[in-house]
Amino acid sequence: MPDNVPILSFIVLIPLAGALMLLLLPKDRGRLARISAIVFTGLSLLFAVWLYADYQPAFGGAKYEERAAWLSIPLNLEAGLRDQGVVSYRLAFDYHLGVDGISLPLVLLTGAVSLMAALGSVHIRKRRKAYYALLLLLQTGMYGVFLARDAGLFFIFFELTLIPMFFLIGIWGDYGREKAANRFLVYNGLGSAVMLLAFLLLVATLGFRADETADGTILTYSGNYDVMLANLSDPNAAANAGGALSFTGGLKWSVFVLLLVAFGIKVPIFPLHAWMLRVHAEAPPPVVMIHAGVLLKMGVYGLIRFAGFLLPAQLEAAAPAIAALGVINVLYGAILACVQKEFKLVLAYSSISHMGIVLLGLASLSEIGFAGALFQSVSHGLISALLFLVVGSLQERTGTTRLTELGGLARSLPFTSGILLTAGLAALGLPGLSGFVGELLAFLGLFATMRWPTVLGVLGVLLAAVYVLRSVLAIAYGPLPARFAGLKEARFTEALPMVALTGLIVLLGVYPSLLTDLMEHGFAGLLRELQTRAGG
């Protein structure tokens, strides 16, 4: 790749450009809007794949870093500071994009799921222009979250996903859409607020930097992630900070808890999950594909990126608690998924259960566990996207997703049912499909330190079989109600993403190194911190 291509910016901004372009289209050109949205989505994905092909784990992502000073806000430099030789005193947020072994898999996931969701939006009939514009805007937010290397930028992208989602749920959802949209907004808004507080605390402590220059001292509060990391490992940072807030234990714990809550809402961690049930149930299926497929992973990513890397001591100390939360998530979600009557709710609780395994991986504090958490995130993203793709097809044809009203669809919709069955098997962790690898790695990682939580987590895998089979078989197997006899099999535009996602799930299940090799060195910094702590 030519070195000077700002590939990360391309990935982030192409969808935004697409969204703006869509706004200029006339209202009635829905088909054109759809096609251009797919083209823009595909273009972004293309760049992401290019990045994947070019990325070399051994060298990390330094080569792709893009950085531009964006906000550099003067803080009032009063006499007291001037006397100390300070010439500049600022609060800085940069436009800083970067990629590493942790974000790249999620970027790829975003691209894949977004494209499939765009393709799978064929059922969306009303206000297509707006729909696809919002879908593109959402993508910019998601890519941005995974690529931002500045706390402020991260937050902005994080929030940028909020508004499109609100509209996508609220306009194109089911009957309870407005309520769902509201709940989504308020919970996530609260999460963002908490995150912002945590970030500002980080900026005010870890982000503080004093640079001596020829003219005098330059004091900067920076949201830059690299600065924070550098300060973290620099024992003199506290001394340099002068009168700034020192990052003491209590403050660190506060920040950690705040981050846990903020991202825990997104993940979601029990008991912060109430909002996502309604979103799963009410949002249009392609939007849920993105929601369950990518948005939940933003929480995981945030936890790793900020709570993990910046607060390793707290992560270490809180590992048992995180493991406990993980176990609760796994079992609570699984048991509740076993008694739901609405397929979408089964999937919602199943998401909770699966995200619990991610937490278990994080709690392992080992490379294999972290890799498992990340792998599970990607895998769950693909699987839930596939499941909701199928849900979208079924809903369009049968008008219902209630388990009691469905049945025997394998007869009238053999292809779709086959895909559903495959996705279900992937969700219950069948080896050879991607779900297994993530679970296995997480368990392998966690078992070394915490035996019983792992065993309980494994129990969740059993329950996964129960709820998946219960619901999938209720839909696909059994006698076919007469009114579903004449259903039409999936169109090409629906079948294509189904096959593609299935292919990805199988590919990752059979040859997980495609993804795990990327993660190599991704966690190196965090592991080093954890090890020095263990050593000292």
């Binding site: 009032n76 402020g152 508004i163 607020a193 908490v194 009168g243």
Partner: protein, 513 residues
């Protein structure tokens, strides 16, 4: 000791903005009387705009003038009449903000207010001028007397403006409520001022500042009484909870442009006065008065928190768009108060940029939002939230602009509202006022719900069948100007803040004179 400073011609030059406004007000009043009835009184409006522009020009001139002196190493402040009137960057920046906001409001009301509703259209326009003059005096005074006169000038003019919809009983009721509340607030402030004068023997802020320490030592109780009374008075003026109850009623009854004026300019001016008095007297006090400063800060912080909480929670239940915006104004007043309630340390002295930046953002988003409300309620004949139903279908561009404005009110990036809040929040973190920051953030989350109620109406409710909303050109310009400015403030706050930072410094602009 007593030296009488009289007004000289050169002093008059410094008063040029205010004088210009007064001049225009008088001229327009006379013109309004002489013009025959059939002449469209919109001309008076354009005249008002011209007056505002001229005043703004003078203010800009002053800013450049001060900048020149500063670069030349001279004091960057002019004081008139023994320090009772100050031309400094604090005042000038705020004056520009007031003038700009007023101009936008007047522009938006051109073409939207109807003669059958406001029979005194001419007065309606030119009464704005003395009101702004009052606001400018409040921003620029260094003496309790001038501050009070400015306050009352603004107050009396706006009482009349509130009642401009003469034939509506609601407008009269609103005006009456405003008169009573405003009068009571003035009485409280004045009563507090009298004690401040009594214990220090001076009505000049500089004199008070000099005498305060001794006064605290000798008459602690009286000083406390003075500040307590003033805080109560300002809380009433600023509609800080639980002194806010009048605001929704008055905002609802007033014509929408006036509501917008009250929410932005009148509130901003009250803040200017609060800053003038408090920063100059207690803010940087130490030794004996340090405890006083702490208490005042705490009282202000508590009021801010209460305002944020009550404003946000109250707005949740409002169905009337104007009342909703009024309560949102209560919450925003709380936020604007936060910087003043924070400690000033060596690393945190940015209270004024924090305040001003948010005030600017608040001005744009509020003026814009009220302009949209004017347009929408004109089309549907109601001011309920449901007036916005299906706006996306009826006026997509206006709906888009309103979305930007509401996102800014809710504090979503990348808008001026977001950035302003972020800046203030960073201040709370820097000064370890975590609880206040947390409070702001929690309220922000709730406020998403509040503002998205309107967004929901615009995008998710039927309205496709209703006729398109006609947006008068001036109002359209204002709406889009506000939306664009809101976005610009969010995306690129740096130029504005660099500019403020280049001009303003606490030492020069708030503590001299």
């Amino acid at each position: 000791m007593i030296v009488f400073h009289t007004l000289t011609w050169s002093d008059a030059w410094y008063l040029a903005p205010e004088l210009a406004l007064v001049g225009f007000a008088l001229a327009l009043a006379v013109l309004d009387l002489m013009l025959p009835d059939r002449v469209n009184r919109d001309w008076i409006g354009w005249g008002t705009l011209l007056g505002l522009a001229v005043a703004a020009l003078f203010v800009s001139w002053h800013i450049c003038d001060l900048r020149r002196s500063e670069l030349a190493g001279e004091p960057a402040v002019r004081d008139l009449l023994y320090g009772s009137y100050l031309i400094d960057d604090f005042g000038n920046l705020l004056k520009l903000a007031f003038l700009g906001a007023t101009a936008l409001i007047v522009l938006a009301s051109l073409g939207t207010i109807r003669k059958d509703e406001i029979p005194i259209k001419g007065e309606f326009y030119y009464l704005v001028l003395p009101a702004v003059t009052g606001a400018m005096m409040m921003a620029s005074s260094g003496d309790l007397i001038t501050l009070f006169v400015g306050l009352e000038l603004l107050g009396v003019s706006s009482y009349a403006l509130v009642g401009a919809r003469k034939r509506s009983g609601l407008a009269g009721e609103a005006a009456f409520k405003y008169v009573v509340t405003g009068g009571t607030a003035s009485a409280f402030i004045l009563y507090g001022m009298s004690f401040l004068y009594g214990v220090t023997g001076s009505t000049g802020l500089a004199g008070i500042s000099r005498g305060l320490e001794q006064a605290v030592a000798d008459y602690r109780a009286l000083v406390y009484v003075a500040f307590f009374l003033m805080i109560v008075g300002f809380a009433l003026k600023l509609a800080l909870a639980p002194f806010h109850a009048w605001a929704p009623d008055v905002y609802e009854g007033a014509p929408t442009p006036v509501t917008s004026f009250l929410a932005v300019v009148a509130k901003g001016a009250a803040f200017a006065m609060l800053y003038r008095i408090f920063v100059r007297t207690v803010f940087l006090a130490d030794a004996e008065a340090a405890a006083l400063r702490e208490d005042v800060s705490l009282a202000l912080a508590a009021l801010a928190a209460a305002a944020i909480a009550v404003g946000t929670a109250g707005a949740l239940r409002q169905r009337n768009a104007k009342r909703l915006l009024a309560l949102s104004g209560v919450a925003n007043a709380g936020i604007l108060l936060v910087p003043l309630a924070l400690d000033t340390t060596i690393l945190h002295a940015s209270f004024f940029p924090e305040f001003l930046y948010y005030l600017l953002a608040y001005a744009f988003m509020n003026v814009g939002a009220f302009a949209v409300l004017t347009v929408v309620s004109r089309a549907s004949g109601k001011e309920e939230l449901s007036a916005f139903a299906g706006l996306y279908h009826r006026a997509p561009w206006t709906a888009g602009a309103m979305t930007v404005l509401l996102c800014s009110l809710a504090g979503l990036p990348v808008t001026g509202g977001f950035f302003g809040k972020l800046f203030i929040l960073f201040g709370t973190v820097q000064t370890k006022a975590y609880w206040l920051g947390a409070f702001m953030l929690a309220a922000t989350a709730v406020s998403y719900y509040v503002y998205f109620k309107i967004i929901r109406q615009m995008y998710m409710r039927a309205g496709a069948e209703e006729p398109a909303v006609r947006v008068p050109v001036p109002a359209g310009i204002v709406i889009w100007l506000c939306a664009a400015a809101t976005l610009a403030l969010g995306v690129l706050p740096r130029p504005v803040l660099d500019w403020i930072d280049g001009l303003f410094s606490i030492g020069a602009d708030m503590l001299t004179g």
